[in-house]
């Protein structure tokens, strides 16, 4: 039997606000445990939450960028359960009437575009974390670090519209790109700023009803999402084919083995006893607020991609690469304010710039070759001062020293030789030296032309103007 996987994703997006969602404590990562806490995020008796307005703005931005409608009156709810990292014994989240609803994203897999529904986006607070093992000399104990407690999260819940691990990854990558593009999330998956739970089920191909789903927790990289989903699909298919049935449960992905294992069954599932949080008044968002936020939205990657294609005349592939992140797109666009050849700039960014960034693990924001410097280099090629080949060497030098390309060219004497007399002298010398090859060429071995070009370039230490070398060689050999 053929099976059809059905996948829905719940993505937790940690918002990049300076302070927490319900108190003024810092959200900085990696500080001394419990140093960023106050009565509110410690869940002290008598403490009350006050909503951080920035979180609401970020949520509206996320909603507008994923085609959601913004709920005019949304409600915070308490999700009740006991755990030491949850200081109040409940998490403030949203249940009924979340801030964003009914959105979608278009993803592209194998050149096919597909629309994936977004059920809802809601705001909530994160929990703290437990630290196990040796803590300040105490053996066999667990500590609670509440620095992360009350950190703002968005939970983005997709419809079960995804049909393969590739679609899931494409959706996840696109969502990741949007939230980082908007500047509302740092996108750091290792630190847990962008994390994902996957709901996976399988059904016989063509069936009308979805199979029983398992929720897989703890899939914290694009690679693991693919691995976890593929493992889970196969596990469920194997189970069914062996005559078993899939049970509704929560499963944990183990990145070491690439497998999932049962965490708790439906029977053990919590009854979260959601109810509206009486400490927070309903959040009223009027149209004016939505419109104000809409005006603040940056141009989104899809729109920018189209603009790059039409305005700068670059191929769709180039536009896709250049809009992979907002800083990269901004880098490209800044180059175009100094230089008009969209494709030439694109080639250099997609070639030398990205290669050097990757090799050195540098981000585009820290790129030592600024857009102005890069386009200065391109201008030297345009004017014939240096050849493209020399330019690559100059680029490497610029990367190391951050120097102006013109001074590198000058200091190292790399100016292109376009004096036909000087080039002719070199050609004559080569043709005399390689008389045998010349004879072969003249007897019809055309391929040898490249050999002569190479020899001339080598003799000129790469500085000879390649076009002129071609022209003069043609004259000498064929004339």
């Amino acid at each position: 039997m053929k099976f059809q996987p059905v996948i829905g994703l719940e993505v937790h997006v940690q918002l990049k606000t300076d302070s927490k969602i319900f108190c003024g404590c810092s959200t900085a990562f990696g500080s001394e445990p419990n140093s960023q806490t106050c009565p509110v995020c410690l869940g002290m008796p008598g403490a009350l939450p006050v909503l951080n307005k920035k979180v609401v703005e970020f949520a509206i931005k996320a909603g507008l960028s994923t085609n959601c409608s913004i709920t005019p009156r949304s409600i915070f709810a308490r999700k009740n359960y006991f755990y030491p990292d949850l200081p109040k014994g409940y998490q403030i989240s949203q249940f009924e009437d979340p801030i964003c609803q009914h959105g979608w994203l278009d993803i592209s897999v194998n050149d096919q575009t597909k629309r994936i529904g977004i059920t809802r986006i809601h705001m909530e607070e994160d929990a703290g974390k437990l630290v196990h093992g040796d803590i300040s000399g105490l053996e066999e104990c667990s500590g609670v670090d509440l620095n992360r407690a009350c950190t703002p999260l968005l939970e983005v819940v997709s419809e079960p519209d995804l049909r393969s691990s590739d679609e899931a990854v494409a959706y996840l990558k696109q969502l990741h790109q949007i939230v980082t593009w908007l500047g509302i999330c740092d996108g750091n998956m290792e630190e847990g700023s962008f994390r994902c739970d996957a709901n996976v089920s399988v059904m016989p191909l063509g069936a009308a009803q979805y199979g029983t789903r398992a929720e897989i927790k703890n899939v914290n990289s694009f690679k693991f999402v693919k691995q976890a989903i593929e493992y889970e699909i196969q596990r469920q298919i194997d189970l069914i084919e062996d005559g078993g049935t899939v049970v509704q449960e929560t499963r944990l992905f183990d990145p070491n083995s690439g497998t999932t294992r049962s965490m708790r069954s439906k029977e053990e599932a919590h009854d979260y006893r959601y109810f509206p949080d009486p400490d927070l008044v309903p959040l009223v968002i009027d149209d004016a607020w939505v419109e104000r936020t809409r005006e603040e939205l940056p141009e989104l990657p899809e729109q920018m991609k189209l603009r790059f294609i039409t305005k700068f005349g670059i191929p769709a592939y180039d536009a896709e690469v250049l809009t992979a992140s907002r800083p990269l797109a901004e880098y490209y666009e800044e180059c175009l304010s100094f230089h008009s050849n969209g494709k030439a700039v694109s080639n250099w960014i997609m070639g030398e710039v990205i290669r050097c960034l990757n090799d050195s693990g540098t981000s585009i924001e820290q790129c030592p070759v600024t857009p102005r410097l890069l386009t200065e280099l391109l201008k030297l090629i345009d004017s014939g001062t240096i050849s493209g080949k020399i330019a690559k060497a100059v680029f490497d030098e610029m990367w190391k020293s951050g120097q102006e390309p013109s001074s590198i060219v000058e200091e190292q004497g790399l100016v292109q030789v376009s004096d036909s007399g000087a080039i002719e002298a070199i050609i004559d010398e080569i043709l005399t030296r390689e008389a045998g090859q010349v004879a072969e060429y003249r007897s019809g071995k055309d391929k040898l032309f490249g050999f002569f070009v190479g020899q001339v370039m080598k003799a000129s230490k790469g500085k000879a103007n390649p076009a002129l070398v071609n022209e003069l060689l043609q004259n000498k050999l064929n004339g």
């Binding site: 008796p45 403490a47 009350l48 006050v50 009740n80 006991f82 409940y90 006893r273």
Partner: protein, 485 residues
């Protein structure tokens, strides 16, 4: 005349003219506490050093000409208010060792005005009760008859006034917890409109119902105290940003033409005859002062107690989840794991009534029962709210008894929760409606026990009920009666 028996405004006049210092008043009050505390048990914690230090600071403010109406006035707080560095138990064993790192906004406001803190007052555990018998720190006795309860949950806040152990106190009122003890102990007690006073730093029982309010010797003091603690607090999202009027300026003494509503559902058979008689007399007093009476109906009154015990317990079950033994408060010894630690700590830390309400609330919120209980209760709450709003279209104030009977005997209802719950039958609807009400002394029973009169106002209509209570007080002498200690 004893220093411990004066009102805020009387003491202020004396301090201002240097006839007495705050230190003298405070020491007199501490001596009074010493003398009668063993009989009454108003306090969980007495803070004599803090009180004297506060009083000295207050006297310096008087010397500097920087004194306020509350400067140097010895006050005490229900143990539900967080006081930085001072034990705060909420009447519960689970907080027997809890010394908070910050203070409630209402206490901060009183402190900023130079008030003196005498200590922390006994109460029902987590403000759950109507008799102050559920405290983990002993039962408070009614100064009018020490075999009787002072009311609850703010029992200590009322008994301390009646026993002259504090000039004024703060309590909290979720279903009557200020008004009912005020009624039973013969003092003035006001529950403000929901949102009028910050709840920040006040241990939550039922967040959508809890309000902070004063208990005082007379209506003028009540107006002074309310003015001091009222106002918007950026730390409490449910506090309302409307200006705080000068409540003492509202005390004009006149109720001429005031339209007073008498809800037929509150004057039922089964009402204690002494309470009924006191209400009749009060109506006569108001009539003679020129007020007009209107018969009104609050048709959903019958559902109020049931509605309250769903909403309040649901919120409480969640509010009390934080007492888990992890970060503060009681942690059981010898637990074998996390679940065991939770179970043991909470089993040992909470008393029977608190456990009962946590279980009720957990049940009401459970999947499959939520719509039938919690959601339905919220709908009824809306109807009850509407009852009041409709009634207030035709009247300025609603007059009712505070409690169906005067103070009952200690132990009388402690094993009969339903009877205990019904003692709040006239106060609970006001909390559900979110509006304001007060209790003012209006008589003594045949056994010499105080009987309070409840005046319910429109939302943010505190000035009107204070004016009406003040006019009544001017025309009667009930507030001058003393507990026979």
């Amino acid at each position: 005349m004893e220093l411990f028996d004066l009102t805020i405004h009387e003491l202020h006049t004396m301090m201002l003219s240097r006839r007495v210092s705050s230190v003298e008043v405070t020491k007199a009050m501490l001596a009074r506490i010493d003398a009668v505390e063993a009989q009454i048990g108003s306090f969980i914690t007495i803070t004599p050093e803090r009180a004297v230090a506060d009083a000295e600071a207050a006297d310096r403010r008087f010397a500097a000409g920087d004194a306020d109406i509350l400067t140097g006035i010895p006050l005490a707080l229900k143990d539900i208010f967080l006081t930085e560095g001072i034990l705060t138990t909420c009447g519960s064993r689970i907080l027997h060792n809890f010394v908070p790192p910050y203070s409630a906004t209402s206490y901060e406001k009183l402190k900023a005005r130079g008030a003196v803190l005498l200590g922390k007052l006994n109460q029902d555990e987590f403000a759950m009760g109507s008799s102050s018998e559920s405290s983990a720190f002993g039962t408070t006795r009614n100064p009018w008859d020490t075999t009787r309860i002072p009311g609850g949950s703010s029992g200590g806040s009322a008994s301390a006034i009646a026993a002259q152990q504090a000039t004024a106190t703060l309590g909290t009122d979720t279903g009557g917890s200020i008004r009912q003890p005020a009624s039973h102990c013969g003092c003035v007690g006001l529950k403000p409109t929901y949102g009028r006073v910050s709840r920040y730093g006040v241990i939550a029982y039922a967040s959508s119902l809890d309000q902070v309010g004063p208990l005082t010797r007379d209506v003028t003091d009540c107006a002074i105290m309310l003015g001091a603690v009222a106002g918007h607090d950026p730390k409490d999202s449910t506090s309302v940003d409307t200006p705080v009027p000068d409540y003492t300026a509202a005390l004009t003494g006149s109720v001429k033409g005031l339209r007073i509503g008498l809800p037929k559902e509150y004057f039922i058979s089964g009402l204690d005859p002494d309470v009924q008689a006191a209400m009749g007399q009060a109506i006569g007093v108001y009539r003679s002062l020129g007020a007009d009476f209107v018969d009104i109906s609050l048709p959903h009154t019958d559902y109020a107690v049931a509605t309250y015990y769903l909403i309040a317990t649901a919120e409480a079950s969640s509010n009390l989840a934080r007492y888990d033994g992890v970060r503060f408060g009681h942690r059981a010894e010898g637990a074998t794991g996390l679940l065991d630690m939770y179970t043991k700590s909470r089993s040992q830390g909470f008393g029977a009534e608190v456990k009962r309400r946590i279980m009720l609330g957990t049940y009401a919120l459970s999947s499959g029962y939520y719509d039938a209980y919690y959601v339905k209760a919220q709908k009824v709450r809306t109807l009850i709210m509407r009852d009041f709003m409709q009634a207030f279209e035709g009247v300025d104030v609603i007059l009712t008894p505070v409690a169906p009977t005067p103070a009952f005997k200690i132990g009388e209802k402690i094993n009969d929760p339903l009877q205990m719950y019904l003692s709040d039958i006239f106060t609970i609807p006001v909390n559900l409606a979110g509006t304001c009400a007060l209790s003012v002394p209006a008589g003594l029973s045949s056994e010499g026990l105080p009987i309070g009169l409840q005046l319910v106002g429109k939302p943010f209509g505190e000035e009107t009920i204070l004016r009406a209570a003040h006019a009544f007080e001017q025309a009667t002498e009930w507030h001058l009666k003393k507990a026979p200690l």
